[in-house]
Symmetry: C2
Subunit: 291 residues, 2 copies
Amino acid sequence: MIDIRQMRYFVALAETLHFGRAAERLRMSQPPLSRQIASLEAELGVRLLERHSRQASLTFAGQRFLEDCRTTIAAFDQACENARMADRGELGELSIGFMMSSAYTVLPALARRFTAKHPRVALRLRELLPPDLEEAVKSGRFDAGIMFDVGGVGGLEARVIHREALCLAAPSDHPLALKVEIAPEDLGGVPLIIAPAETTPSLREAITGFCRRGGFEPTARLEAQLQQTIVSLVSEGLGVAVTPSSMRKLGVANVVYRDLVDAPQIEHVVAWRPANLNPALRLFLAEAGAG
Amino acid sequence: MIDIRQMRYFVALAETLHFGRAAERLRMSQPPLSRQIASLEAELGVRLLERHSRQASLTFAGQRFLEDCRTTIAAFDQACENARMADRGELGELSIGFMMSSAYTVLPALARRFTAKHPRVALRLRELLPPDLEEAVKSGRFDAGIMFDVGGVGGLEARVIHREALCLAAPSDHPLALKVEIAPEDLGGVPLIIAPAETTPSLREAITGFCRRGGFEPTARLEAQLQQTIVSLVSEGLGVAVTPSSMRKLGVANVVYRDLVDAPQIEHVVAWRPANLNPALRLFLAEAGAG
DNA sequence: CGATCATGATGCCGATAAGGTATGGATGCG
DNA sequence: CGCATCCATACCTTATCGGCATCATGATCG
């Protein structure tokens, strides 16, 4: 049966048109090369070279075969190389789900670093609501997810890759806007716009913890899942919210942000299934500082 | 060394995910397949399959390698098939030079038939003036030329593939336009527009032969190389011409065509170098009826 | 014009690799 | 716990490959 080795022999021969020198280049002696070429021609049923006494020349079929051999060999070598790259995680796809909040913090720089370092990994980024995200990573639809800490929930491994302080977002004409820094007790009795506990439990917990330092439980005036939505509702004067500092970047009109006294921090984590075998995931985790 | 056979083995295995059944499909027993795959993995340095007790599964690298193997194998098989086709002349290029006159007669149908029958031969058609054409075929710049008979000139083989009668082309207000049929003696003393003898010797010979039957030598009023140019000069009233009947198709205004008594015929031949090894040439000659 | 050289083909041998059969080891199932 | 399934391993036989020596052929040169 014809194989790729015979193609390599033929290419060397076609490039030198000389059995002896081709054999030398192939680090073999001339007789086996002659035989391999003869067997190649026999199996193809096609004469590839005209042997003249001075030097050989390619037939028309041989010229065509030479071109095709070059592309075939290139495809072959590329296939092997690609397998090795894919094994190292440097070639392939990596799908990352993330919550909107991460798009304002860790994600942009991380994605930029990763694609710069591993240009042949197609990074598929998709934003999801936090609860869907956790489910999607667990089910394997995403290789990893970037979200607020999920509290070590079942099946997923997670590492903190970013921390940010919470702050107060208030309408600019709100009384709290007059203060430079907000203490827990300042929020006593002030209804908050807040994300539901199911959506972002760790954020809820951080807010609750802050309020408790003021001796009260937070009361929700409105609930919305996305922090952007919450800030937007604040800008409409519907209430105040405790939200990650990165929301300041939004630049929504009529909203002022105020630091909290001993501000609680919220953690962004990258979470993945330990059973996930995508080699690119390891590289991504390393890049995220979650090795 | 990795070879194409191992790729075929791997594809069969990847498609069944079962060593036993893959081996069966490959008409071999299971142990050598196991070993070939193991050796493939070892040489790549990449694990391609996860072996579970129930059934195997592809790793990420294996999935990638599967795709690449398929394209590589396809390229490989195509290369072999192309060599065979090129050898039969059914794949490749064929360059044909032709004189303008043939574009009105043999060439269109011949080119149509040939490309229909051998769609993968790229037919390069190019018109040339007859003297250039002969030279171009001799030098190998064209695989074949279609021209008026060159009288068995050195080095080229030629076969007649078309014959056509000559006719008289005259301005519509010329006295000869009144006659239904032109006898040789009718042209006595009438100056002709004619192609130079170097350009188309056989045409010149035919015209001379016709005139001699009337007992005189033709006199040239004007010379032009292309028959179309000659007919065009006729239409401008600059004289009459003896020209191939196919020129009637030109539809030039103010020109009438008249049959000649016992009209001499001019032969279109296909000419080629006997040493030309382009296999497609044989198919072309066969199609031209010049086998 | 014959000797010589260059080049590819052929004969033969040892090493390597491939495939076959028999069997072992691990895992899941009744 | 025994059995069935499935892949890996051991061992043997055969095929293939590459090396060395040599031959056949055609060009080159004295």
